[in-house]
Each structure stands twice: as structure tokens, then as C-alpha cells.
Amino acid sequence: MKPYKIIGWLAVIALIVAIQPLDRSVEYNRLILGLQQPTPWFQIAARGAAGDTELAVTGVTGVIVGAALGGFREVAATMLWMKTHEYWHKGEALQAKSLWLMRLVTLLDPHWLEPWRVTAWHLAYNLYVETDDPELRAKYLQMGVDCLREGVSWNPDRYDLYMELGWTYFDKVEDFEEANKWFKAAMRYPHPEYVDRLVGHAYERMPDVPRALDAYDYCLKRDPQDHTAKGATLTIRERYLWPWYLAEQGRYDEALEAINEYLLAKPSSSLGLHVKGHIAERAGKLRLAYDTWKLAGDISALDFLAQNKAVELAHELGIETEDTAQYLYMQKMGKDLKVTIPGRDRMSR
């Protein structure tokens, strides 16, 4: 080999070695500045491999792979999303292949909010009702919640997914404390006004009467014409504030008497029953609390909070019962459903 060639090839090797520190620095800066592609290819491939490989490739046509590799990730995501619509119209929306495709869309384009919303809805709502097994239902609930949490981590400066997550906790899990955590997070960003009211609704259903009134107060200060907040404030003051006040004073019997008076007129009021169950629990009248929560849960098949409370009290009282999906989910999350007795200073009204 001629000397210039040896020198040339040595220079090539030296240059490649010299590029490495620069390469590491660029990679580091891209990581720090958030310039990297949302989900690296190896992570997408690893997700596919972790699941059913056959399912992973269903619907992912050459065109889609080509679009993704050619640098059109969002186009590929849109094409896959259209494919999931196709499955939807064939009645196969809840099949694993369709759900995997939806997940793939969230991986390809994690800043597109709709796929997060729809995927989580399919998991926590639609797959949930496909089975009667509480364990499976609890699993689907968790998958839906986890999906939205991941979506939030990708889109932390938008209200949408905080709100969706809060709503799933509110409506499907009925963990109102958790729901409010996410509704309040949504309120930090530009949001529609109904999100503010949801905070009040969650406190109302918990129930936490003073905080519900505070939340509606906030809504009314922001918009004095907010009829929903106005109506809710009047209802709370009229029906629940007095029993709650008595309970705060430790006058439980009087409090129960006061709420019973209201329940005489409206025996199936779920909020009235919630307040009664809460007061009975605080008073240590666990059997009465159990009966009240059980009644509320039986009246409304969707009153998961009442059903959970009834299950928990049944366990405590040694009553045979069947665990609900929500109860199993809350247990798994290490949630304590017991009533926490607030300090007197919270009773500001």
C-alpha cells in the first residue's frame, strides 16, 4: 500500500475517533433540551416484542413503516389511527390488535391527545364492561389510568389529559380525592370553565361539604352568572350544611337526625346517603354506615364509592361480601377508604 493511502486511512480512523466526544456531547444536549424523537425505535420494537409479535405487526403495513422511517412519524401515526377506525367499524375495536395499534399511535406521536383519550376510554370503560370478573375489571381500570398518566407525562402543559385522568377517577373509579388532584392540575393551564365546577362536584360526592362550597364560591367569583355553581351552593346549604355542621361539632345523633329528615323526603338521594354514611362512620356507627352505603350502592349501580365503602365496612364487620373492581383497584393502589376526620378549623361556615 502506498504511504499516502496508509496516512489517509489512518486519518479516517483518527477522525472517527475524534468525532466520538462531539457525538456524545450532541446526544447529551439533545436529551437535556428535549430534542430527541419522542419514542426511540428500540423502545417501540421492545414494546412489540414484549407483547404478541404477530399482533404487533397486524395493520402495520410497509407504507406505514416506510412513512415512519422516512421521517413522517405523525403521518404514520395518522395512518395507523385510521386503521384503528377501520377496526372500529368492523366491530373489532376492543380486540388486542386494535388496542395495540392505538398504543402504537401514542408511541409514534405522543403529543397527539386524541389517541391517549380514546385508548384510555376503551380500556377503562369499554373493555371494563366486557367482563364480569372484578379482577379483570380492576386491571382494565388500571391500564386506562396508566395510559392517561403516561399521556400526561408527554403533555404536561395542556389541561386535556389531566382533565381526562381526573374524569376517569371521578366517574369510573370514584376516587374523588385523586380526581380533584388531577382537576386542580388541569386548572393550572388554560381550560374550559366546567373543569372548575368538577372540583366542586367531586368534593360534594366525597362528601366534603365545606370544600365543595369553597369550590363553588370560586366558580361564582369567576362568573357570577354560573347557574350550576349557584344551584349547587343553594342545594348544599339547604340540605347538607346543617347536618355536616352538627357532625363537625361532634353532635352525631343530631346530625343523623337532620340528614334523615331530608332523606325522608328524598330517600334515594345518593348525595344525602353519602353524607349520612359519612356521618355514621365518623360517629363509629359502623353497621348503620354499612347499611347506608350499601343502600346507596344498590340504588345506583354506578355509585362505586358507596359500593366500595360497603365492601370495606363489610370486611370490617365480618359480613360476607363480593369485592368490586373499584375496591380491588383501590386496594392495589394502597388507598384507604376510611373516613378521615378533619380538624374543626376546616368548618368555616
Partner: protein, 271 residues
């Protein structure tokens, strides 16, 4: 020393504009970029993101196609037409010839990208404010987009120059079809270079030889994904000029490596 290089470059530049298929690719790219706002409606609520993805994606993709198809023809055409003998008979060294050819191609690509960039800016300036107005919460991201798009086009230019360099070198090594395939493979594999890094991880269970080979591939291959800052544009993240310069520097360094290899190979080749 520079004069012969510039003469070859100028001739290459003029010749490139006479190639119909390159003009066709450019026209098609501008058509796609121009209609990017139509595709935007496919992603309700994320129209701005879609315009950026299609517009900048098209600039990178079609720029890459131009680089591959032009780069792999630059030297072989001269050999086939035997004009290379005339050129090299003049006081033009092989190094000057290779570099001049690359420079002419690079100038062609720069003009192509500028045209695509202008087309994209026009579409963006017309349609994006409409989409941005529908989502006031994106106002901050939108404001940062104009300057970020320019930065993305500059980085795309370096990426495509690197592809052109690889195509020119490939054409001195292989037949036309093979050099096209080779360049495409390097480009797509370079887009997924992090894959090799992950696979070379001892925890992945690959054999030691495979680990060394994959690790070496990761180190040697250009990392094309570093030229893509669409994520920053979509998130309204500021891309510092320091990072830009580092990335351009890395592209330039790889380009030097590629052209040096090209020279070493071409210098020994019989023409």
C-alpha cells in the same frame, strides 16, 4: 488550487439543473409541501403539528432522494461519457475532481432546499395562523416556530450534504443500482442508530462478537436523527445556537471522513 475545484463545481451545478428527474422530484416535493395543510385536517386538534411534520418531513425526505439520485450519478456519468479523461487531462487532480463534484452537488441541494423551504414558509405563513388561532394555548409554541423552522432547514441541509457525500463515495465503489441501495440503507440505518447501541448492551444477551460489532457500527455510522429537531418545534423548545453549531460540526466532520474515503478509493480506481 481552488479554481479547478470551483470550475468542476460550477459545471456540476449547471448540469444538475438539466436533469429532468431531479427537477421532477423538486416539483413533487413542492406540491407535497404546498398541500401539507390539507393533510393537517387528518389530525384534528393537532393541525399545526401535522403541517410541520409533513412540511419538514418532505424537505428532508425529498432532499435525501435528490442527494441519493444525483450523488450516485455525478462521477459515473463522467466515466460513462468519457468526459472524465478530458477533465483529468487538464491540471485537475482526482482529489479536486471529487471535491468539485461534491461541491457542485452540495450547491444544487442548497438551492433545492431553499426553494422547498420558501414553499414551506409560504404555506405556513398562510395556514398556520388560522390553526394557531383555534388553539390559544399554543400561542407560545407558535411564536417560536418561525425561527425554529429555519434552524430545522439548516440542519436538514447538513444532513442531506452528508447523504450526498455518502452517495458520491458509494458511486465510486459500486454500480449505480448498488450505490443507490447502499446509500438508502446507510440513511435508514443511520436514522435508527440508537437501535445498535441498545442491541450492543451486554444485558440484551447478544454474543460478545455481536456486541463488539454492533457497538462499532453505532460508533462508525453517522447518526442522522441528530439533524431532526421537529420535536423542539412541536413543543416550542428553544434550540440553542451552541447545539446547532455542535450538530453542524458533527455533520461536517463526518463529511470530511466520507470525502476522504471517496478520495482514497477514487484515486486508485481505473477510469
Amino acid at each position: 488550487m481552488m479554481r479547478p475545484i470551483l470550475r468542476v463545481a460550477r459545471a456540476t451545478f449547471h448540469e444538475a439543473w438539466r436533469r429532468r428527474f431531479l427537477n421532477g422530484i423538486l416539483l413533487f416535493a413542492i406540491l407535497i409541501i404546498g398541500s401539507s395543510w390539507v393533510f393537517a385536517y387528518l389530525q384534528p386538534g393537532a393541525e399545526l403539528q401535522m403541517i410541520i411534520d409533513i412540511g419538514l418531513g418532505a424537505i428532508r425526505f425529498f432532499g435525501m432522494l435528490i442527494a441519493v439520485f444525483m450523488g450516485t450519478r455525478l462521477i459515473p456519468d463522467e466515466i460513462e461519457r468519457r468526459t472524465i479523461h478530458t477533465i483529468l487531462a487538464k491540471p485537475v487532480s482526482r482529489a479536486q475532481f471529487v471535491f468539485g463534484k461534491f461541491l457542485g452537488g452540495a450547491a444544487t441541494i442548497a438551492v433545492n432546499l431553499a426553494l422547498m423551504g420558501i414553499a414551506f414558509y409560504i404555506v405556513f405563513a398562510i395556514k398556520a395562523p388560522e390553526f394557531a388561532a383555534a388553539k390559544p394555548e399554543d400561542a407560545f409554541i407558535f411564536a417560536a416556530m418561525y425561527s425554529n423552522i429555519a434552524k430545522a432547514i439548516v440542519l436538514a441541509l447538513f444532513e442531506i450534504w452528508l447523504v450526498l457525500g455518502i452517495a458520491v463515495v458509494a458511486s465510486t465503489l459500486f454500480s449505480w443500482v448498488l450505490s443507490v441501495i447502499f446509500t438508502f440503507v446507510i440513511y435508514f440505518v443511520g436514522q435508527m442508530s440508537d437501535f445498535f447501541q441498545q442491541l450492543s448492551d451486554p444485558g440484551r444477551g447478544a454474543s460478545q462478537i455481536a456486541q463488539v460489532l454492533l457497538g462499532a457500527l453505532y460508533r462508525v455510522l453517522p447518526h442522522f436523527e441528530i439533524f431532526d429537531i421537529r420535536e423542539a418545534i412541536l413543543q416550542g423548545t428553544y434550540t440553542p445556537w451552541g447545539t446547532m453549531l455542535q450538530t453542524m460540526g458533527q455533520g461536517a466532520a463526518y463529511l470530511v471522513v466520507v470525502l476522504l474515503i471517496g478520495y482514497l478509493v477514487f484515486n486508485e480506481r481505473e477510469v
